[in-house]
Amino acid sequence: MRRLLTLLLLLPLTACGDDAGSRDGEKETLTVFAAASLTKTFEELEKQYEDDHPDVDVKLSFAGSSDLVAQITEGAEADVFASADNKYMDKLVDADLAAGDPAEFATNTLIIAVPPGNPAGVKTLADLTKKDLQLVVCAPEVPCGSAAVTVAESAGLTLKPVSEEQSVSDVLAKVEAGEADAGLVYVTDVKGAGDKVEGVAFPEAASVVNHYPLVAVEGSDNADLAQEWIDLVLSTEGQQVFADAGFGPPSS
């Protein structure tokens, strides 16, 4: 009985030990923290990178840019950070956690996402203010939300959403589920969603362009590998991946 008890008490500890032990494996690990909107493109680049570096295991962590910065400043071990917004990149720079100057690698603009067939008949940005239209946008605190507010303001409109979501993927999910009649998301989100949603482009979108910068994280043990990831993102073949996904070219 006592032996069993000891075993049970030690079990969680051995589990932790295994976890730490896996780092001693032969492969080196490159950890890339990237904005959720980069999921598909970065996964594609991961394949290319690992083909070029057979001894490197790339680990991708996707979340909202704001979440990722918070995780890095709280001590999460990241080698590269790619943000969907200069604002959150600036937070990393201000925390002295950026190794060098961030480089812009892509841009993105807003588009209206509607369920297939566009049941509410949304054609313009102004249609989003129609009564009874169930509009979902991002909360103003997150990049896609501040972009939505700016676009509406510059068009002289006041949006009255039924919900302000924490991420662009939450907005897309509610449009895909048919719960919302329309949502403001990025061009790349609609392209990535395939047949599940339709996009309604609007000219005012050009007034708000989201810039995507990336940088190596200060204190990383894999500075060389991190730089090679950044080089791949900025390379011609890397840029083609972003263009294919619907991203705009970097503006600078």
Binding site: V69, E141, S163, E165, Q166
Partner: protein, 261 residues
Amino acid sequence: MSRTRHVGLPRWVFIPALLAVVFVALPVASLATRINWADFGSLITSDAAMSALGLSIRTSAASTLLCLLFGVPLAVVLARSEFRGLGLLRSVVLLPLVLPPVVGGIALLATFGRQGLLGEHLEAFGLRIAFTSIAVVLAQTFVSLPFLVVSLEGALRTAGEKYDVVAASLGAAPTTVLRRVTLPLVLPGLASGAVLAFARSLGEFGATITFAGSLEGTTRTLPLLIYNLRVTDADAAVAMSLLLVVVAVVVIGLVRPRVAS
């Protein structure tokens, strides 16, 4: 309550017991170290905070009421009746305890959403649930119902049927027995179940954000506001978290002493 101990406890049990308390209490207490006390007052009295707290309390009260209305009869059925499939029924009722709340939210969408099983028909009657406070109440009720049912069923089984049988043999009708004998006997269990359900509703997050959305004053409860603020205004998020802890402690503390006596 008698404080006499009839059987001594082995001393060693106090060590893991203490560790368990520390494991729960320390992280909560550590919240206080992150608090910006200078701004604390203004942070928790901001319009957004007040609106979220008010909404949380109103919806949690509504969902507790629903839990009582439907959960009490359900607990009575589970504890006092016998039929085939009772075990299966109990497992179904307990499901929300083990399901990830997000799964609960998706399930609620499939039921009450615009294209959901029931939602489609409700929409035809002009009743829309998605993105309303009703959706918040439904999400909270879904996750907290088992807390009430489990507590009450346990209390009913412990109380036994002796007094019910006596009352019935003296000529009381089943409804009278239930109202005058069965339920009064398990009142402490009922109260603690209702408090648990209320507290669980207060903390509900996953099903709400999946099913109800997040809009100030309508669906943005305190947990959703904290989630919104945690990276953009960490001070406010921590202050709000402490506020939620205090409200939960007050709610649990208010009823617990009466339950024990």
